[in-house]
């Protein structure tokens, strides 16, 4: 985590710590102002048009669940269809399945080709008069594929269908402009953007957020309460019941400041150099296959090695000081498509170097030697 993010949270905890939106004392006013300042920074980071379009959540999973309950339960009913894709992380599948189980809606799934790209023609064919919602990941966490979401959003909007974009894997690696994308919802987590865990945001267009019902009831989200009737607070507070993780929210604001200072376009360009170099190195090796070879990819390298299970690769690479993810990446439909139980995934970020790519390559070669 960048020192500036740590320092910002320490400053909050040592000199500004109090609950927000409550007391009239100095600390509470300061904490409230800093929390709202952080919301403003997130708004700038994604180019939202208003502060209130940014809702703090505990992360991407929480944000998708919020939409599934707040929007889905109110506006998606029996026989209605929700379009998802094969590339979704479980957190953009399960909340919709739970909704469908509850109210009889149907899930339709966009298939992929063998490079790991969505079949856009099939996506278009899935639309009919029952289509009420689209949930799509901006970037596949398992393969790195960047989906053509702008085109997908445009197509859905022409049919009056709102779109949620899971940006958990995209926001850390490229400049996000929600107005340019014209998405209805966009969500990502703090810990993937050099921020703390337990915090994320849901971006939503004001008009939609206002029509949605609250997800969690409690303090902060109300205007008035009697035992006969409760009226809800305005957006975004309507969706932020209870005491939020204030230090984490403030740290998240510092994290996006840090990334903006580095420059998201520079990050994207540098990471492309890393993935191009790593891909080239891997292509020269025997007995290794890259899973996910889409034309548009972020710096994610998912691979399988002949005769070696990913968990053995992960344990042995760990011994070389290399941290990779092994397993199904919470994206089992993707694994099923490629008929592999699991892959090893190296995920590069702007703080990685070409030398570290070399270390990964020689680490894999060592593993292959052990299992010869």
């Amino acid at each position: 985590m960048p020192q500036s993010v740590i320092d910002r949270m320490v400053r909050y905890q040592t000199t500004q710590h109090a609950n927000i939106n409550r007391a009239v004392h100095y600390l509470s006013e300061t904490a409230t102002a800093e929390y709202e300042e952080s919301r403003r920074r997130l708004k700038h980071f994604i180019n939202a048009s208003e502060d209130r379009e940014v809702i703090f959540t505990s992360g991407t999973t929480d944000a998708i669940n919020l939409v599934a309950h707040g929007y889905g339960r109110k506006f998606i009913g029996s026989g209605d269809e929700i379009v998802l894709t094969t590339l979704e992380h479980h957190s953009n599948i399960v909340p919709w399945q739970m909704l469908a189980e509850e109210n009889g809606a149907k899930i339709r799934v966009v298939p992929i080709n063998d490079t790991g790209e969505l079949l856009i023609d099939k996506y278009k064919q899935l639309f009919n008069k029952h289509t009420k919602f689209v949930g799509v990941t901006h970037v596949s966490n398992a393969l790195g594929t960047i989906n053509p979401i702008k085109q997908m959003i445009e197509f859905a909007h022409a049919r009056g269908v709102p779109v949620l974009v899971d940006g958990a894997q995209a926001a850390p690696h490229m400049k996000i402009d929600v107005q340019d994308l014209d998405c209805d919802f966009y969500t990502f987590s703090g810990h993937k953007l050099c921020g703390p865990t337990g915090i994320g945001i849901l971006y939503g267009k004001t008009a939609l957020l206002e029509r949605m019902q609250p997800f969690k009831g409690g303090g902060d989200m109300i205007a008035s309460v009697t035992f006969e009737k409760t009226t809800y607070n305005t957006v975004p507070h309507k969706f932020e019941a209870g005491t939020p993780p204030i230090a984490a929210a403030i740290g998240f604001g510092a994290a996006v400041d840090y990334l903006s200072a580095v420059d998201m376009s520079m990050i994207a360009a540098y990471e492309q150099d890393l993935i191009n170099y790593a891909t080239e190195q891997i292509c020269h090796m025997r007995g290794i296959r890259i899973i996910g070879t889409a034309a548009e990819k972020v710096a994610v390298l998912s691979f399988v090695v002949d005769g070696v299970h990913p968990h053995d690769i992960g344990t042995l690479l760990n011994q070389e000081g290399i941290a990779v993810r092994t397993g199904h990446h919470c994206a089992q439909p993707v694994m099923q498509h490629f008929k592999v139980p699991a892959t090893t995934r190296a995920s590069f970020a702007f703080y990685n170097s070409m030398i570290e790519v070399d270390a990964l390559i020689s680490g894999i070669q060592k593993v292959q030697k052990i299992f010869l």
Binding site: H90, H309, T315, C330, P341
Partner: protein, 160 residues
């Protein structure tokens, strides 16, 4: 952490050339073991006659640790009584989770090559899945999962 000593020749050899690998036509006990977190999957079939394991085989898809553990397990319990096998199951599990010292009094013999797994909590399940499945086969449980709450060998390890 002694990962090096975990991936030693004996384990790599059993992974490369697993013993008792295949199917058994006349098996009277069998069970299927599954670790949904990593996709490890194996079947164990055995013949239990007059309290003795007269024959035992396994088959499946798994990592090297799981396959070697299954291979060495079948070689060890073949010809033993059900009670002796249950003792080994218990001791192996305790060794894997660090409750049994490899140099204490036990019946594990060369199976102590797996003792290093205690330092790799995320891999413990890989090593104990075959033992877990053998326990199920001996107790007429058809399928087991490392993630089932009521599983006697459930070891809580997080995963997404």
């Amino acid at each position: 952490m002694n990962t090096k000593s975990l991936y030693q020749e004996v384990i790599l050899d059993h992974n490369r050339n697993p013993r008792n690998y295949g199917s058994l036509d006349n098996a009277n006990c069998s069970a299927e073991g599954h670790n949904p977190l990593c996709g490890d999957h194996l079947n164990i079939a055995l013949n239990l006659s007059r309290g003795y394991i007269s024959d035992i085989v396994f088959q499946g898809e798994s990592c090297a640790i799981c396959k070697a553990s299954a291979s060495m397990m079948t070689a060890n319990v073949k010809g033993k009584t059900q009670a002796d096998a249950e003792t080994l199951i218990q001791e192996f599990r305790e060794m894997a989770i660090g409750k049994l010292e490899p140099d204490s009094n036990h019946h594990l013999g060369r199976l102590t090559v797996f003792s290093g797994i205690r330092d790799l909590p995320t891999r413990v399940k890989c090593a104990i899945l075959p033992w877990h499945t053998l326990h199920a086969a001996l107790n007429s449980v058809a399928t087991i999962s490392t993630e089932a709450d009521d599983d006697p060998m459930h070891v809580s390890i997080g995963n997404a």
